[in-house]
Symmetry: C2
Subunit: 175 residues, 2 copies
């Protein structure tokens, strides 16, 4: 798809078909993540691809009990490795949030390009998700998303919801 | 451009032509930012578009003295507004880093789509940049990027540098 069509028609999807995601399609989406940029090319990320039903069910209570998540054939959990750099002179160990968010955005957009729906979940308990997936010390969970074909098909991908005007989010030469 | 071509040929660009960025082109790139997703659709961001030479020069010392930044006709400074939500039950006031990084990734990819080079800068002093641009309390600077046509033209956009293998960044059902 054309880049701007991907951006314009990416929507949060919360209802999925049971249809599995073919490995080849998943591979394309993950390739978009793999080549994503990161500070000093550190690539401080790990994307855990959860397809196992029992593991998916264990993730639900760790994600604010959002049961609809398990409807998707895949749940992706994006993790970041804490590194010793104080981005912007204030982010400290949260510096990695920036890198993993770049990779996750590539995943979300790449998925849309393949007709797959996602929904970036920020409502989760880091410690609980880490326990379920065996994420080691020095790593944190940055985001979670279901991944699958929307129940509504291509109709799921429509114009984005309401947004601020450009004049509210852009300014010239000063805040 | 095709989505995957945009992703595959996005490179960090550090040398720019003096040629200004037409307003129409800049508008397209900012539109890709405007419609980007954010947690609960908060859109907690402000993108400051700096073209004024004197302001650009003041930004240099606040960005680790990276003088090459001023070669670009535009410098974009992405700011985030702190909100009361503890994403992942641990991010606290850094929760906004995730949202602004999504918007910034849309900007970086949208710029590539228009033949514009960018380079995400994390080496800056938040307090200093805020002072130069009058960013109020409750807001932080998340990222800075030059924006302009690469001196090397389209040749600047080649395959990405070395990356980890998929097997190093992806795992199944557990970390």
């Amino acid at each position: 798809m054309e880049f701007f069509d991907v951006v314009r028609t990416r929507r949060s999807v919360r209802s999925f078909k049971a249809e599995p995601v073919p490995d080849e399609v998943l591979g394309k989406v993950l390739e978009a993540v793999r080549i994503a940029p990161s500070g000093s090319n550190r690539q401080p990320w790990r994307f855990i691809v959860v397809k196992n039903e029992a593991v998916k069910q264990k993730l639900i209570p760790a994600c604010g009990d959002q049961k609809w998540l398990a409807e998707a054939p895949v749940i992706v959990v994006a993790c970041g490795q804490i590194f010793d750099w104080n981005r912007g002179s204030y982010m400290g160990e949260h510096s990695v949030l920036v890198d993993v968010s770049i990779g996750m955005t590539h995943l979300i957009l790449g998925a849309r390009n393949e007709g797959l729906g996602t929904c970036w979940i920020g409502f989760f308990d880091n410690a609980e998700v880490k326990k379920v997936l065996g994420v080691p010390e020095g790593w944190n969970v940055v985001g979670v998303t279901p991944l699958g074909y929307p129940k509504a098909g291509e109709k799921a991908f429509t114009e984005p919801g309401p947004r601020k005007q450009l004049s509210e989010i852009v300014s010239a030469d000063k805040f």
